[in-house]
Amino acid sequence: MKKLLKSALFLAVASILVLFSVAAKVGDAAPDFTAADSNGQQHHLASYKGKYVVLEWHNQGCPYTKKHYESGNMQRLQQEWTAKGVVWFTVISSAPGAQGYVTAGQENDYLKKMHASPTAVLLDPEGTLGHLYAAKTTPHMYIIDPNGTLIYNGAIDDHPTSDASDIASSKNYVSTALQESLSGKPVSEAATRPYGCSVKYKD
């Protein structure tokens, strides 16, 4: 009985710690998670150790997300990096009824229509994964290295506008970070201010 109580207490404390941890700091271990994708499959971050993982927060109605999708920029990035073995998760943390919320079926239709090819789209209407990473905007980008360390947290590029014409002259922070890390260099700009619409969390 004592052992059971001890385990229960431990679990309670541990879960409280998880709830209050704002733990998405570059250089630290990326917070572990298990989340379901738009095909009903579960993805456990820890099982991707040995690979780079990109997290892309997404809201298809947000003008900043549209900038990167209507231009094909995000799709190009997804294709380029998944072809190089990077795992790319698009994450949707919009609450039901809020802009960006989609059912699994709607998201799969969107992916086909936009020719998007992330490894999977993680559906997070409760906002659990969003809050775990303190995702603020759409887009908001994170990169986890093969050791499970967070090596990038921030904006997709250096032109915080909703203007697709800015993409050509923009420095893409995600590609730069992946290129640097893959060639054994430290990431030169590891934490930038993410730009976009606020993530539409459940309140």
Binding site: V22, P63, T137, S162, A191
Partner: protein, 271 residues
């Protein structure tokens, strides 16, 4: 007595030549106009311009540091030769909390100010034209980027009074601009682990204050700011942003104390 039509037209022409001609434009969930505090541009003087935003209920635009999301309005100014614009001046913002995040901006109405130095020699024309290409983001539960061309025609004169139509708006707004700290006051900041503690010494105990960081990515916008009153002032504890990877040497922002906004630029000591 009926005023002859010719006289009426003459009166209209005369009064319009002495007035600034602003155009209020309709935008998405907002109206904008470019206005001037003074009724004319006086050579070797100062002309205060303002971009007046009138927002539909519930909609907001952003401060120079928008906070966790959003983007501030930006302007490209078109001024006549010899007219030199100073820095855009922002009234103190509101903090808009949502979930665990916060943005900084304005609801209902705001005026962003631009001081303009006029040339020593009067322009040859009787009126000057000022333009601005404005781009901004307006949000409520969704965000809409928008843009407009704003225009203002201002007469040139040897002297000018304030334009009574807009002077009250300028005066109200100028009271909301952050002022320099009084010379007797001291502000210093100390980095302590995940926090930055800002100490303000004024000579009197202060119970409440609010700090708006000027630079992005330094202070966690959505975090609570603990204020503790001290005999000679107060201390406010700010949470560092998770994105702050390197020490900062100065903390810049707007501190609101007893309803008044002050500009702070304090050295930061510690780790």
């Amino acid at each position: 007595m009926q005023i002859p039509r010719r006289i009426l037209v003459l009166i209209l022409l005369l009064t319009s030549s002495f007035a600034s001609l602003a155009q209020r434009i309709n935008a998405k969930h907002a109206q904008l106009e470019l206005v001037s505090q003074q009724s004319a541009a006086v050579p070797d003087g100062r002309l205060w311009l303002g971009v007046h935003f009138i927002l539909e209920k519930g909609w907001h635009i952003y401060w120079v540091n928008p906070g966790d999301s959003g983007q501030p309005p930006v302007f490209q100014w078109q001024l006549p030769p010899g007219f030199v614009a100073g820095a855009l001046q922002w009234p103190r913002p509101e903090k808009m909390q949502h979930s665990q995040m916060a943005d900084y901006g304005y609801h209902d109405e705001t005026l962003l100010l631009l001081p303009v130095q006029t040339p020593r020699q009067a322009p040859k024309t009787q009126r000057i034209n000022i333009g601005a290409e404005a781009k901004w983001l307006i949000c409520r539960e969704v965000c809409i980027p928008d843009h407009a061309h704003l225009q203002l025609s201002v007469p040139v004169a040897a002297s000018a009074d304030d334009d009574p139509k807009v002077a009250p708006l300028f005066i109200r707004t100028k009271q909301l601009l952050p002022k320099p700290l009084p010379t007797a006051w001291r502000a210093k900041a100390e980095s302590r682990g995940t926090e930055i503690v800002l100490t303000l010494t004024t000579g009197k105990s202060i119970a409440s204050a609010e700090f708006f960081p000027l630079e992005e990515n330094q202070i966690e916008s959505g975090a609570a700011q603990a204020v503790s009153a001290k005999p000679m002032g107060m201390q406010i504890t700010l949470q560092k942003s998770d994105q702050l990877l390197h020490p900062i040497s100065r903390l810049k922002g707007v501190l609101v104390v007893s309803g008044k906004a002050y500009g702070v630029d304090a050295p930061v000591t510690g780790q």
